[in-house]
Structures are given as C-alpha cells and as structure tokens.
C-alpha cells in the first residue's frame, strides 16, 4: 500500500488557512514524508482532480464555477475536510448574504458586472457537498490541523472540540477580561481550538472559531448590552467572521438594524 495522498484546494478565501500548513515548518517536511501531496497550489503542486484520500478545502462556495469544482473535488476524494471559517461557515464574505442585495452590490462595485458569476449567497462547503470533518478558525491553528491529519492517517475520526473558549482560558490561567475589565468577550459562546489566544493577551475573544455547542447567545447578548454595547455593537460581534453560522446569524440578526442607523 502506498502513502496516503492529500490535496489542498482553494475556493473564496484569503489563503490564510493554507498558510497554517506552510507555516508548520519542520512538521510540514515530516508530513511530506508521510503523505503524497497531489495538489497544493501554494506549495507549487498542481493536479486538481487527482484521486486522493484526504482533500482539505479552504474557502466558501461563492461562484457558479466554484460550485462545479467542489462537486468534482468531492467525487475524487475519500475524505473532505474543511479548513477554516470560510469553508466551514461561509466566512466574512457571507456578510453579503445578510441583506440579499448581491446583484446591486455587483453593479455598484464592478465596471463589467457581466463577468462576475457570483452565486446569490456565499456558503459553507457543507451547503453543497457532504463534508467528513470540519476544522474551524480564522485562520485554523497549525497544531489542530496536524492533529486532525494524524488521526485521519490512523483511520480514526479527529477529536471534535465543541467546548467553550472559557474552558481553555481557565486551563491557561488567563485572567478573564470580562470579569476583570468588563470587555465584551465572546469566549462563552465560541468553540475552543485557538488555545484562548486573545484572552491570554488581555483582549476579548471575537469568535473566530465559530459557535460552541449549547451556545447561549441570548444570555451573552444581554450581558454585552449590560456592559454598555449598543444593539448595533452586539450585532457586529456576532455578524463577523462566522456570521453565517446559524446560532450567530440568528443572534446577530436580532440586534441588526438595516444600515446600522444609530452609527
């Protein structure tokens, strides 16, 4: 049996998550020994529809062309793993889904809107194909990616992490920025995976790893308002990187007023 093969695909995204691979340094070299990298444009390997064991997909599905590509990726991959917030939840670009005026934006921004084949919505990969495992984060964290790869190489599902950032924040002995400084931290509704990076540096979590399990966004919204945030501020906290994730979307929309007229 040969080495397992992998591919890394890019859709609508900033390339930041692919960098989690490239920045892995020595571990990347180890990985290259262990697997056969068939397709990874950032690393200079191209064979887009080669049959692979694991396909990592970065980016949301935003254009008609991407829709066709993702279906072909699914057809030639044993496991499909999403890499990061865009692929998993639609990413920042899904903000355009909010007011449903995709066509107007297109005409306002581009000189030749006829060349732009965007879909009505920028959507997570799972809206279009079956996804085997999702890696959250903006960007994903290298350790988390490599741990998932190793489990898949073992033939075992990666460990899913749905606990709140707060759990890790306390394990890291960070001071709670909400309790000690009244900062509007989203850690209590956000899934861990980052190692509580922001609170460890004294700033509030902005939920780049998406919603945790049992996320009580209503209770946290009330608390954020109690800390002095306006409804528009609360909406912005939820309608950010993971704005298309259902629980954040719903929480944000409750506070969202067209055009943020109170600004």
């Amino acid at each position: 049996m040969g080495k397992p093969s992998i591919a890394v695909h890019k859709f609508s995204s900033c390339d930041g998550c692919q960098l989690a691979f490239l920045n892995a340094g020595e571990e990347l070299l180890n990985l290259a020994e262990l697997v056969d990298i068939k397709h990874f444009l950032e690393a200079g390997v191209a064979d887009e529809y080669a049959h692979v064991d694991i396909a990592f997909v970065e980016g949301s599905i935003s254009t008609t062309d991407e829709l066709t590509r993702i279906q072909r990726v699914r057809a030639c991959s044993r496991y499909v793993v999403t890499l990061g917030a865009c692929a998993t939840a639609g990413g920042l670009q899904a903000l355009r889904n909010l007011d449903g005026s995709n066509t107007e934006w297109k005409h306002a921004i581009y000189a030749h809107p006829g060349f732009i084949h965007t879909l009505d919505q920028a959507e997570p990969v799972s809206a279009h194909i079956k996804v085997d495992f999702e890696l959250w984060g903006c960007p994903v964290n290298g350790r988390q990616v490599l741990a998932a790869v190793q489990q898949l190489l073992f033939g075992v599902a990666p460990l899913e992490q749905r606990d709140k950032v707060c759990m890790e924040c306390k394990r890291q002995h960070a001071s709670c920025v909400m309790v000690t400084a009244g900062r509007p931290c989203l850690g209590p509704v956000t899934r861990t995976g980052c190692g509580a990076l922001c609170p460890r540096f004294g700033r509030d979590c902005y939920a780049c790893f998406g919603p945790a399990g049992n996320a009580n966004t209503a209770a946290l919204s009330r608390r954020l308002e109690g800390l002095g945030l306006t409804p528009a501020d609360v909406a912005r906290r939820f309608l950010f990187i993971n704005n298309h994730a259902p629980s954040f979307n719903e929480a944000g929309k409750k506070h969202y007023r067209q055009g943020f007229s109170d600004d």
Binding site: D163, C166, C176, V179, T180
Partner: protein, 372 residues
C-alpha cells in the same frame, strides 16, 4: 493558642528564607493581570501590599488602599487547585515500533516540594476535600506527589469580599486545621501559629517575639468582623435530600436561560475534580502522549455515552453542578462540596449566584404529584 508569637512585618522575609533553606519552592500571592495569583516569590516585596479586592457577581476589581498590609484582599481566581491538580498534565506515553509492538512509559510525578503562603481557610477546606477525592482507595500519583511535599502557610481572613460565604458553610474565615503555619496580619506584623511538626521546625528559625494580649484580641476581632461582613449564605449545610426532592423545579430551566454553560464556575471551584483524558499523537504516529485536562459537567463531552448524551440540555448541566456540589457530595465525601469561597459567583461571566439559586430552589415546597 498558647504558641502564638509575633513576627514583625519586615521579618516575614525570614520565613521565605527558612523555607528555601529546607528546599521548598515558595509561592505567594502576587498581583498579575489584574488578579491576585499564587506565583513564585523569593522576596516579600512581590506580595500585594496595599491591594484589596472588590468582588460581585461577574465582577472582580483590585484597588489600592492606604495600608501596608499584604493580605487585605479575599480571594484570587484560583485556590491551591492548579498547583496540585494541574489544568493539563501527561499521565503516560506510548511508543509503537515497526513491528507494531506498543511500549508504555510512565510519566514521573513532580516531586518538588512546594510551600504556599497566604492560603485561606476556604482553600484549606477545599484542599481537604480534594485529598479525599484523589487520595482515597486508589491514589492519584500526580496529585499525591505534589500534596506530600506541600507546606501550607495559612492566613486568617481579616476581610471578606461581598461574594464570600464561608461562615455559612462553616469553613472560615479562621483557618482551624490543615496548615503548617497560620498568620494573622496586623498593621505592624503577623501573629504566627504552628499547626504541625514541620511548621514548628520552621518557626524555630524565625525571629519570633512574644505576642501581647492586645495583639491576640485585635487579630481575633478582625476575623469575627470578616465573618460578620458576609451577607450571602446557603439555606443549610446539608441540602442533599432537599435538592433531590426538587429535580423538576422550574428554576432549573429558568437559570439555564441565563447560564452560558461555559464551565467557568467549575474551573474556579477549588473542589471540582472533573477531568477529561485524551491522546496527543506525534505526527508520523510513532509516539503518543496520554493527557488529562480540566473538564466540567457543563461541557458537552462530560456525559457523552456511546452515541448519546446523558445531559444534552443546559438545565440538566446546571442541575448536575448544583446537585453534585451541594447534594451528592455528601454521599461521596460526607459533606457538601462547597466551602463558601464565592469564586463561582465572581467568575461567572453573567454573575449567576449559587447561593441565590440554591435558596430559590430549596425554599420552595416540593412540587406534588410528578414523576421524573
């Protein structure tokens, strides 16, 4: 307290020095990142002289007071728990050779001796409970090694925060046992009591003076004053049956609407012992470490069971926390699992107050005619 002696303020350094001579690593309270934390100290200059804390549900602030005192604050975010039961630690590791054979290796426990200065009465009560948990029938070697080398310098509380309720659980504000040395802080120094042979051996190396009866009275009055300052309390110290009779109380759903299921309460609670185990395999798969890390009954994996979750809803998780802490702990360890430190109240991001919830649930009549 026949053996009570007086140690002038600046002479506290001699205690650190004596402990160092005995090979102890010394931890003491230090202000860092806006919280009092037990960190390594070699000099008493790092102690939080002139700091006090202001605590309320979901709120912790330090402020300056015009006083030379180093222990004029009540509690930090953590008691001794992180130093004995680490937030994350390796239990063992495995190697797999080319033939597929597995070799298991033990992780050696950390046996360095640790002395902690400034331990509160509630922290000591919690320590005793964690001892019962980790050192009963089957001993945990990691907790055990650290516990064995632990030297405790307690400080009786002369100040309680608004969140403290140790008087109602019977665990403070005076430390009555479980310490090697105990201090009462006065403006010009400390009264020193000994509580063990190890403590007496260290005390002989300190420049102790005899204490005056005025000093002894002043210290005792301050402790009484700290107890009187407390206004929170639990309905009783034995709520086991009361709680298990009220498993269908509507308050569980009501508190769940406020609760974030974030696990901050259990993480700061000095008696909570839950931890999860998992593996961290090196890339390439030739070695793996088996770790444990703090877990919580508020987390999703806590009650996961072969394809389904025993506690999918937040109200069931809050109910587990309270019925365990104040109820079934009696079945396990013969007393309530709450020592009244108030940390879960302060560090709850939305300020849920265990005393308020317990009072609301326990004082209600038992709802009739229901079956679970």
């Amino acid at each position: 307290m026949d053996d009570t002696r007086f140690l002038p303020r600046q002479a506290l350094q001699t205690l650190l020095d004596a402990l160092h001579r005995q090979g102890y690593r010394t931890l003491g309270p230090v202000v860092q990142d806006a919280v009092v934390q037990y960190l390594d100290i070699d000099s008493i200059d790092r102690l939080p002289s002139g700091w006090t804390d202001d605590q309320a549900p979901g709120r912790y602030r330090l402020s300056r007071v015009d006083s030379p005192r180093c222990f004029a604050w009540a509690t930090g975010a953590q008691a001794l728990k992180p130093h004995l039961f680490h937030a994350r630690e390796v239990l063992w590791n495995t190697r797999r050779d080319d033939a597929g054979k597995l070799v298991f290796g033990e992780q050696e426990p950390d046996v360095r001796r640790l002395a902690v200065i400034g331990v509160r009465a509630c922290d000591l009560a919690a320590l005793e409970l964690q001892d019962r948990h980790f050192l009963h029938a089957i001993k945990d070697p990691y907790y055990g090694a650290k516990r064995q080398g632990l030297f405790v310098v307690a400080v009786h509380c002369a100040y309680s925060a608004d969140t403290c309720f140790c008087a109602s659980t019977g665990d403070g504000p005076r430390a009555t046992h479980g310490f090697d040395l105990a201090l009462s802080e006065l403006d010009d120094g400390y009264l020193v009591e000994t509580g063990s042979d190890r403590g007496r051996a260290i005390a002989t190396q300190l420049p102790l003076q005899s204490a005056t009866s005025t000093q002894v009275h002043e210290a005792a009055a301050a402790i009484t004053e700290a107890a009187n300052r407390q206004f929170r309390q639990l309905p009783s110290t034995h709520l086991r049956d009361v709680l298990f009779d009220r498993l269908q109380h509507p308050r569980w759903e009501e508190v769940a609407a406020r609760c974030l299921a974030c696990g901050n309460c259990t993480s700061v609670c000095p008696t909570c012992f839950c931890h999860a185990e998992h593996d961290d395999a090196a890339l390439g798969g030739s070695t793996s470490q088996h770790l444990r890390e703090w877990d919580s009954c508020f987390s999703e994996g806590h009650a996961y069971l072969h394809g389904f979750n025993v506690r999918p809803d937040t109200h069931q998780r809050y109910r587990q926390w309270m019925t365990h802490k104040l109820g079934s702990w009696h079945d396990q360890y013969g007393r309530s699992g709450c020592v009244g430190c108030g940390r879960c109240i302060t560090w709850c991001p939305v300020g849920i107050d265990i005393t308020e919830e317990a009072n609301a649930i326990c004082t209600a009549d038992v709802p009739q005619g229901e079956s679970p």
